[in-house]
Symmetry: C2
Subunit: 223 residues, 2 copies
Amino acid sequence: MLSFIEENYIKSIYKIAEASGGPVSTNSLAEKMGIKAATVTDMLRKLSDKSFIHYQKYQGVTLSEKGNNRALQIIRKHRLWEMFLVQKLNFGWDEVHEVAEQLEHIQSEKLIHELDRFLDYPTIDPHGEPIPTASLEMNREPVWYLFNFRKADILTVVGVSDDSALFLNMLDSLAISLGSLIEILECNEYDNSFLIKLNNKATVLISQKVAQNLIVQPNNDRK
Amino acid sequence: MLSFIEENYIKSIYKIAEASGGPVSTNSLAEKMGIKAATVTDMLRKLSDKSFIHYQKYQGVTLSEKGNNRALQIIRKHRLWEMFLVQKLNFGWDEVHEVAEQLEHIQSEKLIHELDRFLDYPTIDPHGEPIPTASLEMNREPVWYLFNFRKADILTVVGVSDDSALFLNMLDSLAISLGSLIEILECNEYDNSFLIKLNNKATVLISQKVAQNLIVQPNNDRK
DNA sequence: ATATTTATTTAGATTAGTCTAAATTTTATT
DNA sequence: AATAAAATTTAGACTAATCTAAATAAATAT
Ligand SMILES: [Mn+2]
Ligand SMILES: [Mn+2]
Ligand SMILES: [Mn+2]
Ligand SMILES: [Mn+2]
């Protein structure tokens, strides 16, 4: 059995590795988890002893097969619970993450299997992120961000890659949600901001940071 | 914030006090929780400092107003989750307790409020026990056990007062479930066992222990 | 190639929750 | 009432997860 805390380390290692490709540094883990590097070092030794990770002093860390599977299980649970909260319990997409952080650690094979069935085997969560299947496969279709497009492109919002409340509240206040229609009116080279027309109505300015976290699908055939 | 462990102490104090009426002894808590009395003493001091309990050395412990409310909140969550598992996720009544022990500690006002609505505000859980309302009231109608009745009485099973897997598995193997019809054929004074006719079919012998934990409703007007 | 800076690990301390063994208080029995 | 037994608390120790400060290794800059 792993503690909640050990599970959170494994999940964080997975997330950082996913974003960077390579091995995960002690410092990056410490920063992500809001704790000190010395604490991380202790835990890495422990997770290595339990063979969830491959760890060489000073060389960073990678998940073992076992660790990777555990990470995917946790992410599966997290995203299924988020789906449950949005679809069945009237939560907004900006309210689910915190609760899912707790629910993802509940231990019960049957629970998660039945939840999956109850939700009719969803493949993406409320933020547009893929949900690993029971056999831990993820339908990773290529994901495009608003940032990848240019003037005159027409797009539909299908997800976000940052599910912090801060970001999702910002989208709410911009009136951007899943399904919103976006036409790019201008790409400003100066600060990489985007001027867009939203649902053929309001004109809105989007910062680089927002544009890098909005997952969209093109409605025309430009790249 | 209380830890899971602190919450479990409070719940155990509530349960023991509910059964016994009076103040709760260190030893009874230690036994219920499967830990040593010395450990309990430490925790009682801590819960007293946080004013969840009234505690005098050597005199046992009672819940404060604050502690009682917290206990009821936890029990509310436990029983709502059990209801969810049975009604929505195809769990059997003998499978839910262990998972509910985990879920009862999830912190989210909105979650439990919406779960209550989603289940249409149930008043009893799958074992026939009352679910505290959002304002922590419990519709405590008097409960009758099979043990309270006598020869020729006809009863319907509406709950159990022991939700251990051991007991519920035993009921399953006796083919007794919620709604089962029971006619008392014989009350044996020797060992307080009961011979019953089940659903007008099989004849079954029930031990005193089982009879004391089966909650029933009379189908005729005898007491 | 050295020196400096940055990243990481080691050492020692702290808190929560638990234990065993010993001391003390309360309860029960002569 | 005195003694024995039981219940409870105290004392001291352990593990998990964290911290700060110091030491060491790796990376970078001169
Ligand atoms: Mn999330
Ligand atoms: Mn988490
Ligand atoms: Mn239960
Ligand atoms: Mn519990």
